[in-house]
C-alpha cells in the first residue's frame, strides 16, 4: 500500500474516531441504540459546507455544525424521554427527517468546497509531504476532543450519565435526573458526529446528502473492534480503544480494497462492514458455546 493510501486511511480513521466517540456514548454509556448518527454526520457536513460557501469563518462554521448535531441528538432523545417513543424508532424518525433537512440546508444534493477557506487551509503550505497534513491536523482535533470527553465522563455529571445507562432506578434514587441526562448524552454524542461530518466535508472538499449512509455501522465497528483489541478497564482507556478501533478498521478496509487478488471494490464497503460487525458480535458467543459443548 502506498503512503498516500495509508495516511488517507489514517485520516478517515481519525474522523470516524469522532463518530466512534458519539456511538460510544449512545450504545455503551446510555444503552441507547441511536441511529440519528446516519443523519447527523451529513448534517454536520451540510451545515459547515453551506456556511463556508456563504463566507463564514470555517472555525465558526465547524462549531455551528457541532451545535446542529447536538440539536439533532436532543430531538431524538426528547422523542424518547418525553414522548416515550421507543429509542431506536425515535432515532430512525430523526434520521429520516434529517435527510429532508440536509437537502433544505444545502438547497441541492451536494455542495463543493472548491477554493473556499477551510480549517485545513492555513496549513496547506506546510513543508511536509501533503498527505501528512490532514492526518496531523485531525490528530490535534481528535486529541482535544478526547481529552475533553474523558474529563467530562469522569466528572460528577459524566458519572451520573454512566449510572443512568447502567441502572436508571438507582440513579434516580440518588437524585439523578435520568431523562435530562439522556437528552444531554445523546446531544453530545451527535454533536461529536456533527463535528466529524464538518471535518469530513472540509477534508474531502464536498458535502453530500447521501454521505451518512452506514455511518452508524462504521462507528459501531470501531467501538466493538477497539474493545476486542484493547483494555476497557478505565473509561479513558475504553474511549481510547474506540479511537484505535476506528483507525484500525479504516486501515483494514484500505488493505482489503488495495489487495487486487481479493477482488473487493469500494462499493462493497458497507457489506463488508455489516459482515464484520455481525462477526464481532457473534464471535465471543461462539467461543462460549464451544466451551459449553466441550463440557457436555
Amino acid at each position: 500500500m502506498s503512503s498516500i493510501a495509508f495516511f488517507g486511511a489514517v485520516e478517515s480513521g481519525l474522523l470516524f474516531g469522532l463518530v466512534a466517540f458519539g456511538v460510544f456514548i449512545a450504545f455503551r454509556v446510555l444503552d441507547f441504540p441511536d441511529l440519528t448518527v446516519d443523519g447527523s454526520f451529513p448534517l454536520g457536513a451540510a451545515v459547515a459546507a453551506t456556511l463556508i460557501v456563504t463566507g463564514w469563518n470555517p472555525w465558526l462554521a465547524t462549531a455551528m455544525a457541532m451545535v446542529a448535531g447536538c440539536m439533532a441528538g436532543a430531538v431524538t432523545a426528547w422523542l424518547n424521554v418525553r414522548l416515550q417513543i421507543l429509542n431506536l424508532l425515535a432515532s430512525i424518525l430523526t434520521m429520516i427527517a434529517l435527510y429532508s433537512i440536509n437537502l433544505r440546508i444545502m438547497g441541492k444534493p451536494n455542495v463543493a468546497l472548491l477554493g473556499d477557506e477551510t480549517v485545513f487551509t492555513p496549513f496547506e503550505n506546510w513543508d511536509i509531504p501533503f498527505y501528512l497534513i490532514n492526518p496531523i491536523i485531525l490528530s490535534g482535533f481528535v486529541l482535544v476532543v478526547y481529552l475533553l470527553f474523558v474529563r467530562f465522563m469522569t466528572s460528577e455529571l459524566g458519572l451520573a450519565m454512566r449510572a443512568t445507562g447502567v441502572n436508571a432506578k438507582m440513579a434516580r434514587a440518588n437524585g439523578v435526573h435520568t431523562g435530562r441526562l439522556t437528552i444531554l448524552g445523546v446531544a453530545v454524542a451527535n454533536g461529536m458526529v456533527g463535528l466529524a461530518g464538518a471535518l469530513f466535508a472540509q477534508s474531502q472538499g464536498t458535502a453530500d446528502v447521501t454521505m451518512g449512509v452506514g455511518t452508524i455501522v462504521i462507528g459501531l465497528a470501531a467501538v466493538i473492534g477497539g474493545e476486542a483489541i484493547l483494555s476497557t478497564r478505565t473509561i479513558a482507556r475504553w474511549i481510547f480503544a474506540c479511537l484505535i478501533g476506528a483507525i484500525l478498521y479504516r486501515l483494514a478496509i484500505a488493505v482489503a480494497l488495495n489487495a487486487d487478488w481479493i477482488g473487493l471494490k469500494a462499493q462493497d464497503l458497507n457489506l463488508i462492514t455489516a459482515v464484520l460487525v455481525t462477526l464481532a458480535i457473534v464471535m465471543p458467543r461462539m467461543k462460549l458455546l464451544k466451551r459449553k459443548g466441550g463440557q457436555a
Binding site: 474529563r151 467530562f152 469522569t154 466528572s155 460528577e156 455529571l157 459524566g158 458519572l159 451520573a160 454512566r162 449510572a163 447502567v166 441502572n167 432506578k169 438507582m170 440513579a171 434516580r172 434514587a173 440518588n174 437524585g175 439523578v176 435526573h177 435520568t178
Partner: protein
Amino acid sequence: MIQVEQLAVTFGAGTPLENRALRGLNLTIPEGQFVTVIGSNGAGKSTFLNALAGEVLADQGKILIDDQDVTRWPTNKRAGLVARVFQDPLAGTCEALTIEENMALALKRGLGRGLSRSIRHEYQEIFKERLARLGLGLEKRLGDRMGLLSGGQRQAVSLLMATLQPMKILLLDEHTAALDPKTAAFVLELTKNIIEEQNLTALMVTHSMRQALDVGDRTLMLHEGNIAFDVEGAEREGLDVPDLLALFSKTKGEELSDDSLLLG
C-alpha cells in the same frame, strides 16, 4: 417528620386487573423513629415504599416530609429527603462502575452535579473510612468493579452509600432477604448501628416477623393496602410472633398463618 394522609394507589384502574394496592393509608413517623413493616404478599408494602420514594405517584392523598408536600415530586427530586436500600443487591449499585464511583454517585445524592471531578482525594478518604468499619477489607479495593463483590458485600456498601448524605427518611426494602442467614445478620446489625449512631428516621420492610420485633421502635402490619395494626413502646415489648398473629386476627377477624407472611 413524615406524614402520610389518606394515601391511595391503584394500578390498572378501570381494567379487569385493577389492583388497589394502597387504600387510604394514614401514618405519622416522628423524627428519629425506626419503624419496621410486615405484611403478606400483596399487602402493599412495596407500593408503600415506592410511593414514599417517588417511584410510584399517589392517586389520592398526601405525603408530607417535614411539613413539605412532596406528593407530586418524582424520585430524583425527593432524593435529597429520601434515601433507599433495595431488596436486590444488584439494584442498589451499578456493577459496571467501581466501588468508589458508586460511592461518589451516592455522595452527591440530593445535591447539584457539575463538571468538577467525581473522584477526589478527600472523597476517597471518606470512602475508605466508611468502608473500613465494615471489616471486609473493601477500603483497599476502591478501584474494583462493584460486580466483583458478593451480594452481602454489595448490600453493606449500599447501606453505606445511602447514609453518606443526610436524609429525612431511610427506606429499607427487605434489604436482607436475598442474603444467606449469616450475611443477613451482619447487614442487619450494621443497619441497627448506623441508624442508632446517626439517629436516623427509618422504615424497614421485612418478611420476617421475628426481625420486625427484634429491631426498631415500632412495628406496623400492612394488610390489603392499609395498616392492620401498629404497635410501639410498652405494648410492643415482650410481643412474640404468635402474639402478632393473634393481634392480626383480633383486629381483622381473619386467620393468618405465619407461613403466608414468611413466604410473602
